[in-house]
């Protein structure tokens, strides 16, 4: 399986990279981890004329806490999330997610930013970032702008990024006290895409009621989606088992999976209900322990 020919550029600065994107427009494709792009090129599902390799641009890697936010650089690998102590202690939902992306070898190259910018509804980080309410930094010829995650996913494989913009950082607000999040994915085998996945992040008030909640779903819609009806049902409520089940039921109704090799739509709805309930339960446990 052989990719088509392309011109290769390895810019040494962000400005140079943005300039190349500007010059080549839709003919150009950014290469970060390459773990989705290169297989698509080998299948000739993608045949970009120009590859702009981001890997030699300095300053884009790393995962760090800064000004009350977790900042994930555009070149931070999934393996970096697995290894960052602050992720395990403060953002365990991100560790849940990183650990189920493909397999350990792929995670040594695959980037978190790429997982979002690829905008595949089957990818795992979109749901998690929706649940976390992440903000994305896009850098273009005129500078930086912030895109709320809720506005980022436009369509299957399509984001709010302009052709000459680069997703340079993902910013996640440090969770409020008594918060917890979890990502639960159900897949056929290790490394596969989800049949359905759910990310839940919630905050409890002093009475133990749900003060804030966001739920993201994987691979049950044409683009990554939030389960807003499920969120609304939980908000202000005591998170009892019945409330969780009711919310999970709503999530399974508001998603819109299609039938494919991973199963018929009804089955996926059932799986979405199960993973949503599991994610909520685990998030709740973590919130109570926090």
């Amino acid at each position: 399986m052989i990719p088509g020919p392309f011109d290769y550029h390895a810019p040494r600065s962000l400005a140079e990279a943005i300039g190349l994107l500007g010059a080549h427009g839709f003919d150009a494709k950014l290469l970060a981890g390459g773990q989705s792009l290169i297989p698509m090129m080998k299948f000739r599902l993608a045949e970009p004329a120009v590859i702009v390799d981001l890997n030699r641009v300095p300053g884009l890697d790393g995962v760090r806490e800064q000004d009350g936010q977790l900042v994930i650089g555009a070149l931070a690998r999934e393996a970096d999330l697995e290894q960052a102590a602050v992720v395990a202690t403060t953002y365990p939902i991100l560790l849940d997610t990183a650990l189920v992306v493909a397999d350990p070898l792929v995670r040594n190259l695959a980037t978190v930013g790429g997982n979002l910018a690829h905008a595949d509804p089957a990818n795992d980080h979109p749901a998690t970032m929706l649940a976390l309410g992440a903000e994305l930094t896009a850098t273009g010829p005129t500078g930086e702008r912030t895109i709320p995650i809720d506005d980022f996913f436009v369509d299957t494989f399509t984001t709010a990024l302009e052709p000459d913009e680069i997703l340079t950082a993902i910013r996640i607000p440090r969770p409020a006290p008594r918060s917890g999040g979890a990502y639960v994915k159900f897949e056929r085998k290790v490394g596969d895409y989800a049949i359905a996945g759910a990310a839940a992040h919630l905050t409890l008030d002093d009475d133990g009621r749900v003060a804030a909640v966001r739920i993201g779903l994987t691979n049950v819609n044409y683009k990554p989606m939030r389960a807003t009806q499920a969120e609304a049902a939980l908000l202000g409520q005591e998170p009892t088992e019945d409330a969780i089940r009711a919310a999970a039921q709503l999530a399974s109704q508001e998603c819109d999976p299609s039938s494919d090799l991973r199963g018929p739509a009804d089955y996926k709805r059932a799986v979405a209900r199960t993973v949503t309930a599991r994610a909520l339960r685990r998030a709740l446990e973590r919130a109570r322990a926090a």
């Binding site: 399986m1 052989i2 088509g4 020919p5 299948f43 000739r44």
Partner: protein, 600 residues
């Protein structure tokens, strides 16, 4: 004497580190894609995007104009050379390349030959093929309806029905069913599966125009049988064809069939006079290579009310895809399916199987057991469980009640198989004791009382392996056998050449151990060669658990002949054997103390 030296000899039952591993753990194996010859070209294949279509035009002009593209081969080119079709191992014929229609998705449509594999891949995309879609039929039951699309208009019989085959006594079986106290029935579909060896298939074909000799390195589980097929297809005598199976990355039956790619690479080498490599990618491997199973089974068991099985009646529709290209070396179109009376003593049994063409990739290989035995075992064991469920009997108890008893051997099954020996009740009892069956049943009852689910499955089986006795097994009329040649050198080392072909089974070790056992030579002094038809004796290859039973037996017999001959000779002074081979009337191993549990 022999006994003290056994571990140094490393004969049967001793743990020996594998002789092939030193090269594999260093990355020094030679798999077919590692073969690189001077001037070698690469072949890539245009495949059909449709399951059933008429080809109206193939335009290769753009591809041929690309720098580095050497040739494009189409069905018309092959037809002119009489090579558009090739025989299958089941007496059917199969398209190498289509001349007018494609009959399954991903079928080979044309081949490109180029200076490197990247150019070949680009050229594949530059070939324009015009298709006129035809209605495909992918369900064998639909295929049997009179108005179904015809998959194979090339045949005289204008039907998708390939063959009907029966085993057992229909009347006797029907009689038992008529009077039976209990009848259970079940539809079982064993779906199409793919063996997916970690190495895909491929070859390097190299035709030497001076000597007229064709050498093919290929992923072959049966190099000699494949040489015979190549000879039949090309008309080149077998003496002018050399098939070399290098190291093989797993076979599981998928490297028994002859695929069009092998033939195309050969044609390309004949045409260009240069070596040509073809290596399929994983998608091609999964889409177009041979599959296993795809049996639609309807089975019925007649029994007494107290659980004695009396008769078995099985009707099966076998989906063979577009060509009957099963890798089945038996004389029966449904392979060994009639072993399906299993371990049980029945009054009567009847099997009928209908082979059907559909617009799917051809195949039928031995994956995880030989030649429809898996299907047979699944069927009978499922039916025993269905009957146990119907009669509310314990699944172990019903098996004990129906086993062929030790004193019944040799036993002739109602479908004609002769079982020479066995003690099935003892074997099952041993397994039940080992697993603590009664204890597990108690645990299950407790859990179920608590609302937890726990399942316990039991399966016993009698299968046929080792293809096999030549009264039952052949390939293209060649009765199944296997061979070994042993040369003992003056200093006491030996070269063993065998007709079977490892794909990971470890023949270089196992067969050396057999010779070590028989001749008393240390295993490290025995070299085993295989996979080169110019040097190895004729054999039918490795599949269906046949290598050790057949070629292993041949090796032992050959070694014994050498031993007998050696008894007549004086011991050469340069002989370095650590032990005496001929010490009287007993065989060297007769008095040997064995390790109690051989490893592995």
């Amino acid at each position: 004497m022999a006994t003290t030296q056994s571990t140094q000899i490393g004969g049967l039952g001793y743990a020996v580190k594998r002789k092939e591993d030193p090269r594999f753990i260093r990355g020094k194996g030679t798999y077919v894609d590692d073969v690189k010859l001077p001037g070698m070209l690469y072949l890539d294949i245009v495949r059909s995007p449709l399951a059933h279509a008429r080809i109206t035009q193939i335009d290769a002009s753009k591809a041929l104009a690309m720098p580095g593209v050497v040739a494009v081969i189409t069905g018309k080119d092959l037809e002119a050379a009489g090579l558009a079709w090739m025989p299958t191992l089941m007496g059917d014929r199969q398209m190498v390349l289509p001349t007018d229609r494609v009959v399954y998705y991903a079928q080979e449509v044309a081949a490109v030959v180029a200076e490197d594999r990247y150019t070949a891949a680009d050229a594949v995309l530059a070939i324009d093929v015009e298709y006129e879609p035809l209605e495909p039929v992918v369900d064998p039951f639909r295929a049997l309806q009179p108005d179904a699309p015809l998959v194979r208009p090339d045949r005289e019989q204008k039907t998708n029905h390939i063959w009907h085959w029966e085993a057992g006594d229909k009347e006797a079986t029907d009689r038992v069913f008529q009077e039976a106290e209990v009848v259970v029935a079940q539809d079982l579909y064993i779906p199409r599966i793919h063996v997916s060896s970690i190495e895909t298939c491929g070859c390097v074909a190299s035709f030497d125009r001076v000597s007229g000799k064709l050498t093919i390195w290929m992923t072959s589980q049966a190099p000699h049988a494949h040489r015979t097929v190549f000879s039949l297809v090309s008309g080149i005598p077998e003496t002018k064809i050399r098939v070399i199976s290098p190291d093989i990355g797993g076979g599981f039956g998928g490297k028994v069939p002859v695929y069009p790619g092998y033939v195309l690479a050969t044609v390309a080498s004949l045409q260009t006079g240069r070596p040509v490599k073809w290596i399929e990618d994983r998608s091609e491997n999964l889409q177009a290579d041979s599959f296993a199973r795809d049996y639609h089974i309807h089975a019925e068991v007649a029994a007494t009310r107290d659980g004695k099985m009396r008769a078995l009646r099985v009707r099966t529709v076998a989906d063979h895809g577009a060509f009957d290209a099963a890798a089945n070396p038996s004389k029966f179109p449904a392979g060994l399916f009639s072993i399906g009376t299993g371990s049980y003593d029945l009054e009567a049994a009847h099997f009928s199987v209908d082979g059907v063409y559909t617009n799917k990739a051809p195949g039928g290989v031995a994956y995880r057991c030989s030649f429809r035995v898996t299907e047979a075992v699944h069927m009978i064991e499922r039916m025993v469980d269905v009957l146990a469920d119907e009669l509310d009997m314990d699944p172990a108890e019903i098996r004990f009640k129906n086993f062929i008893q030790p004193e019944q051997f040799p036993y002739k099954s109602p479908t004609g198989w002769e079982y020479d020996s066995g003690n099935y009740p003892a074997a099952l009892q041993k397994a039940l004791d080992a697993i603590g069956y009664q204890e597990l049943r108690r645990e299950q009852a407790e859990k179920r009382a608590r609302g937890e689910l726990m399942g316990i499955g039991i399966s016993t089986f009698t299968e046929i392996v080792g293809a096999g006795p030549s009264h039952t097994f052949d390939i293209l009329g060649i009765k199944m056998f296997d061979s070994a040649e042993i040369r003992v050198h003056p200093t006491g080392s030996a070269l063993v050449r065998i007709g079977v072909q490892t794909q990971g089974q470890g023949h270089e070790t196992t067969f050396a151990q057999i010779v070590a056992e028989e001749l008393g030579l240390p295993v490290e002094n025995i070299v085993v060669e295989h996979g080169d038809t110019d040097t190895a004796p004729y054999g039918l290859g490795t599949y269906g658990s046949r290598s050790t039973p057949t070629a292993g037996a041949a090796t032992a017999v050959a070694a014994r002949k050498i031993r007998e001959k050696a008894r007549l000779l004086p011991r050469p002074t340069c002989w370095r054997s650590t032990r005496t081979i001929w010490s009287g009337a007993t065989t060297p191993s007769a008095s040997r103390a064995r390790p109690s549990a051989p490893r592995r």
